[in-house]
């Protein structure tokens, strides 16, 4: 170590240190322009001059180059130094009078104007770029050339260089902004397009794929990294505080032994580049829908500001073109199932962003809003938001003029040519199999179907051609989020049935020390304030916060950590707790939403109850959002810590109650869904009680005789009933209903009422009448419920139904075809007319019954098969043969079945004249009203919920939607759960759907239910509500407001109670209680008021 004196202060520094580095350690600021700590000093700008004396001699020296020597005396602010620096900056200012950085520095040094003649150069020859390129990037693309006043930095021969990496580091480090990387590089320098933003935005080489990525970790792009490709740069490694960068990480191949495989590898989007009629790739203002979706996103490239990427102008008129790469015999004949809804959503969101005046037109063939709640959304888009839907054929995109406007030419319904101008055209590109699917299928030994999606097995959409390998999501057929989530749970359920015997065999349980009893102790709070590298400490004065915190009452210990979350800091917290007998811990760092569980675990390891932790964010809520207000941010951080300390003083240890689980299930409904769910639970090893209201199992499946792909539903029915009835684990209660229901997840008690000779209708449409007299009561105990109560075909009075035996529903038609009674209906059959959407998609039933279009196509094809001479007309509003069902719609058209589109305001008219049935309908293509004589009228009456749903909903305390179907916890993400834990949903009582979809949902419900059975006890959250009985008046308000049925009144004491296992800790009852008798652990009123007080 060497001793020296700087500005009369003594300092010891390592040998080899320069004066500039030494002054830096003392916090003395010295101006520089050519110095960078990670590059070799060069001494070019001469601004870092200091006065160095040794003995009697004193000299002016460049501090960046001058190595420390023993007994050196340095002065950085003498008059001589300041005067010399002023001269230097004046010279620089004369050379580059327009450089902001130099002007700023000149002002700092007290120089306003240079006395020297102005040169109007911009380079100060500091050489930072040259050193950066040579030393860090290992490229040496640029160098000094010539001498004296001609000296400059250029690539060889002043020509762009082929060896330039295009990394832009020279431009980045240039203090005056004179260096332009593009002048050095022979290739065009482009930012890397962000894959997540579909190339609309850009991304760095070191990148977190997207904000919600799991794991949320930055990854270095191997292809572009200069270190990995040339062994240079390493800048990321230097700036990374926790030293997380490891260039030696290599791709590894690991072998894992598994019993089952689930394939959920997703899909790709159709690339419209080859489709010249849409102009994608040719006109910059033609985008694909995923690109547009990113533009709309608040976390997207324009932060949700709706602009065209080409010129950043706000579009006034946007067109969406549907079925790009879908329903197209030239590429993908199938329907992508999701485009109608996402285009509708994007149009609505665009209007929300840009205002009502934005024009959004959707060019479509059929709007396929077949999912639950979709038709309502579609109607709202039209009426509330003013999204226009234009039914048309063959839209084409052309350039309208030079300003980037586009022209869409199309053919209208009445065969006229039309055109419209737009600022932006969005192509609703379809879903295609992932590009690597063939390789994946080969590795896994799976078959692909003719569209190159993974082939599935008949009615069982998660089963592949290979046992033990299951599939979920769009990799087997395009599908929406709810169906994907359902299949995910179903595939997991199937895998867990296959591996039932091995369940839990790889589970390891973590053990913790015995908890220290602290509730009687005075609070001794330990506060740990995190620097988070420079994330917090770069803005907030962390030592200042620590100093302040130590003055707060109840604080026994406070320290700051570089990274409080790092492994060693965690160990340190553990030690400090023991050392200082800390009994409450405050962590001031990032957000509790991500890191609270980690620190709860840490203090648990030190023997503290995990709820003795208070967590306050001084990063997300402070340093990151107040980066330019250091003082105010520090003040705020102090207050936030004070708030946390005030609340922490009142924290109490909490216990998480656990409850035993009865590992038996109750399934309500013995149709396809109920039988499947029962079999699934039984296969997974659990006992099941199956309650069916009719005297036979099967439900609506009994009325299905054909399916589009040739599978026989009756065979399925027979096999399923046999399997269920012969399974020892399944206890069947036919002719039965739920009489009483009580309990909570893991512990339900249900009374089943069984009738002896209950009259049932054999058609299974749910019209069974309650029997006279009393039934037998049985009480069963079970841990979960799967609700699979079914639905029925609508009873209609429209179109003369019931007045003539030649007018039937699709269900009746199918039954007659199956029993060879087709001809007997209409005598000699020559013309059949089918009317779609009878009662569906109208006021009072504003939903699509989903199956009718495919059923009409199926039954028409069947009639054509029996008698190709029959004329069939299908009167429809939109044909919704989604997914691979589209193929059969094509077949129907090829077979000459005539499809006539009608609108809700011009419904077909059915009349009977002299025993002749006629239908009158307006044909928009012929542009005239048709009158068709017919022998058989078939009504697609759709599906309606069962009447008893209402009473079931009351008994089980689960909600119904406005159409009378059961309402799941989340329509997209939790499609088989109710918000009440332990009750699940499957089949038609959820919403109309096909047999295969019902089977998937039943497996999903059983799979979800089994997650409760994988544990012996259920753990409630610790932050539940409790009642201070002394204050409770038994007013029942808490019972009414609780969304989870977790509150009840104890009849004996007339005080409110909590069913702890049901309480989710929302605290709504706490705020509702007029007496303050309800309190939430961890969020007690006293604690919150204390917190508020501490802030003010």
């Amino acid at each position: 170590m060497i001793d020296l004196t700087i500005n009369d202060r003594q300092i010891q520094v390592k040998e080899g240190t320069t004066i500039l580095e030494a002054t830096g350690e003392l916090g003395i600021k010295i101006p520089t322009l050519c110095y960078h700590k990670d590059l070799t000093p060069y001494g070019a700008c001469r601004l870092c001059l200091v006065e160095v004396s040794r003995g009697n001699r004193s000299r002016i020296q460049a501090s960046c180059l001058y190595p420390i020597q023993e007994d050196l005396i340095v002065h950085t602010d003498t008059e001589r130094v300041i005067k010399t620096r002023k001269i230097m900056i004046e010279l620089l200012l004369a050379r580059c009078p327009d450089s902001e950085e130099i002007k700023e520095l000149a002002e700092e040094l007290g120089v306003k104007e240079s006395r020297f003649p102005k040169k109007n150069e911009d380079c100060i020859l500091c050489g930072l770029c040259e050193r950066m390129c040579r030393e860090r990037m290992g490229a040496s693309v640029i160098g000094f050339t010539q001498r004296g006043n001609k000296r400059k930095i250029i690539p060889p021969f002043d020509k762009t260089s082929a060896i330039c990496l295009g990394c832009g580091a020279c431009e980045f480090i240039c203090p005056t902004g004179s260096m332009k990387a593009k002048n050095n590089c022979s290739e065009q320098i482009k930012a890397f397009p962000s894959e997540f933003d579909w190339g609309v935005g850009t991304r760095p080489v070191v990148n977190i794929f997207y904000p919600q990525a799991v794991p949320n970790t930055a990854v270095i792009d191997e292809k572009c990294c200069i270190q990995l490709n040339r062994g240079a740069c390493q800048i990321c490694k230097e700036v990374c505080g926790p030293e997380a960068i490891d260039f030696n990480q290599k791709e590894r191949t690991e072998e894992i032994r598994v019993g089952a495989v689930i394939v959920g590898a997703g899909y790709d989007r159709f690339n419209p580049l080859g489709r010249l009629e849409y102009g994608y790739g040719e006109y910059p203002n033609v985008l694909t829908s995923p690109e547009f979706e990113r533009i709309l996103s608040a976390s997207g490239p324009f932060r949700g500001h709706l602009v065209r990427p080409s010129d950043k102008k706000e579009p006034k008129r946007i067109a969406f073109i549907q079925c790009v790469g879908s329903r197209d015999v030239e590429c993908n004949p199938y329907c992508s199932s999701v485009c109608c809804m996402y285009a509708t959503k994007e149009a609505v969101v665009a209007k929300e962003h840009a205002g009502k005046d934005l024009v959004t037109d959707i060019y479509y063939m059929d709007i396929r809003a077949f999912g639950k709640g979709f038709d309502r959304y579609y109607e709202r888009a039209k009426t509330e938001y003013g999204v226009n839907y234009i039914h048309c054929r063959s839209p084409q995109v052309e350039r309208a003029n030079g300003s980037g406007e586009l022209l869409i030419r199309f053919v209208t319904d009445d065969d006229k040519f039309a055109k419209e101008k737009y600022d932006l055209v969005v192509l609703s590109t379809g879903l295609v199999p992932p590009s690597k699917i063939k390789k994946l299928a080969e590795i896994l030994g799976l078959e692909l179907n003719k569209y190159n999606f993974i082939e599935t097995n008949g009615f069982f959409k998660e089963n592949t051609s290979r046992e033990g390998i299951y599939v979920c999501g769009a990799i087997s057929e395009p599908k929406d989020i709810p169906e994907t989530v359902i299949q995910g749970s179903a595939a997991a359920g199937k895998a867990s049935a296959l591996l039932a015997e091995a369940r839990g065999s790889l589970v390891k349980e973590k053990t913790y020390p015995v908890e220290i009893e602290v509730s009687e102790e005075e609070p001794r709070i330990g506060v740990f304030v995190c620097h988070c590298g420079i994330n917090i400490a770069g803005v907030v004065d962390v030592p200042g916060v620590v100093k302040f915190t130590k003055t707060l009452s109840n604080v026994a210990y406070c320290e700051d950590n570089l990274y409080t979350c790092s492994q060693d800091s965690q160990g340190l917290i553990n030690e400090r707790i023991k050392e200082h007998r800390l009994n409450r811990i405050v962590i001031a760092s990032c957000t509790p939403r991500t890191h609270e569980p980690l620190f709860q675990d840490t203090i648990r390891e030190a023997g503290l109850n995990p709820y003795l932790l208070e967590f306050v964010s001084i990063r997300e809520h402070c340093s990151w959002v107040h980066m330019f207000e250091k003082e105010a941010a520090t003040r705020k951080a102090k207050e936030l810590v004070a708030m946390a300390v005030a609340k922490a003083a009142l924290l109490k240890p909490l216990t998480q109650s656990t409850f035993p689980v009865i590992k038996k299930g109750l399934v309500i409904g013995g149709g396809t869904a109920g039988m499947t769910a029962s079999l699934s639970l039984a296969e997974q090893g659990f006992e099941v009680y199956l309650v069916e209201k009719e005297k036979e199992l099967g439900g609506n499946l009994r009325n299905l005789y054909f399916s589009l792909n040739g599978e026989n539903p009756q065979t399925l029915l027979k096999e399923m009933v046999e399997k269920v009835e012969s399974n020892e684990k399944i206890h069947i209660y036919k002719n039965s209903e739920i009489a009483d229901f009580a309990g909570y997840v893991g512990n339900y008690k249900t009374t089943v009422k069984t009738y002896n000779d209950r009259p049932t209708s054999n058609n299974g449409d749910g019209t069974a009448q309650p029997a006279e007299g009393r039934g037998n009561l049985t009480t069963i105990e079970h841990g979960i419920v799967i609700l699979a109560a079914g639905a029925k075909e609508r009873q209609t009075a429209e179109y003369l139904y019931g007045q003539d035996e030649r007018i039937v529903t699709q269900k009746e038609l199918e039954e007659r075809i199956a029993s060879d009674r087709l001809e007997s209906l209409g005598g000699k059959l020559s013309t059949v007319v089918m009317v779609q959407c009878v009662g569906s998609r109208e006021e009072n039933a504003l939903y699509c019954s989903r199956v009718c279009c495919s059923t009409a196509v199926k039954n028409s094809l069947k009639i054509k098969e029996i008698n190709p001479g029959v004329n069939i007309f299908i009167l429809y509003r939109d044909i919704r043969t989604y997914g691979f069902r589209e193929e059969y719609y094509q077949q129907a058209r090829e077979k000459g079945i005539v499809f006539i589109r009608y609108d809700l305001d011009s419904k077909p008219e059915v009349v009977k004249e002299n025993e002749q049935l006629k239908v009158r309908v307006f044909d928009p293509i012929l542009n005239e009203k048709l009158e068709i004589d017919l022998d058989l009228l078939v009504l697609s009456a759709g599906i309606v919920p069962n009447d008893e749903n209402e009473s079931l909903a009351k008994v089980l305390k689960v909600p119904l939607n406005e159409d009378g179907f059961f309402l799941e916890a989340h329509i997209k993400l939790r499609p088989v759960d109710f918000s009440t834990d332990g009750i699940f949903l499957a089949g038609l009582s959820h919403s109309p759907k096909f047999v295969d979809e019902t089977i998937s949902q039943a497996w999903a419900a059983a799979g979800r239910a089994a997650t409760f059975f994988s544990k012996d006890r259920i753990r409630a959250t610790g932050r539940i509500v409790h009642v201070i009985e002394r204050l409770c008046a038994g007013c029942r308000i808490c019972v009414d407001v609780c969304p989870y049925e977790a509150r009840e009144i104890d009849e004996e004491t007339n005080k409110a109670k909590i069913i702890e296992v049901l309480c989710q800790g929302c605290g709504v009852c706490v705020a509702s209680c007029p007496n303050g008798a309800s309190q939430q652990y961890g969020f007690e009123k006293k604690q919150l008021l204390q917190a508020v007080d501490a802030l003010l």
């Binding site: 608040a298 997300e620 990151w624 009123k1085 508020v1092 802030l1095």
Partner: protein, 136 residues
């Protein structure tokens, strides 16, 4: 005299607005330092008492952040918050404080919206001047 800097207490739902405030942080969206966040599990758990206490103790404004209608993590707590705040504002009218209490729906993905709301509220409260209860 330095410009008046209002002090705003924000009660945010853990699942939406608190997460939205987190997102504003991770996105480095800058907003005024005047706001202090208190985390609640649900906007429906907001006891009006907390708002009164904040105002009595001298807060110049109170921001309540909940999930958008229909998005409540706990089914319908935000609707309860909406009703409760409506009543609360009626009472605050008596003191001329009703415009100092804002209820806003801010989802977990709306960092920008959170920052804008804070900016807007700080400006609004600044123009109103300090909490009149402080003069008492």
């Amino acid at each position: 005299m330095a410009e008046f800097e209002p002090k705003i207490i924000a009660f945010l739902c853990n699942w939406c607005s608190y997460a939205g405030a987190d997102l504003a942080g991770t996105s480095r969206i800058q907003y005024p330092t005047n706001v202090r966040v208190v985390r609640l599990m649900c906007s429906g758990a907001l006891d009006p008492l907390y708002v009164y206490r904040a105002l009595i103790e001298g807060a110049d404004g109170v921001l309540i952040g909940g999930c958008h209608p229909g998005d409540c993590h706990y089914t319908n707590g935000n609707y309860k918050a909406r009703r409760r705040v409506a009543v609360l504002k009626k009472i605050l009218q008596e003191f001329g404080l009703e415009d100092r209490v804002w209820l806003r729906w801010i989802s977990a993905s709306e960092g920008q919206r959170f920052a804008e709301t804070v900016r807007e509220m700080v400006e609004n409260v600044r123009s109103k001047g300090p909490n009149p209860l402080l003069r008492l």
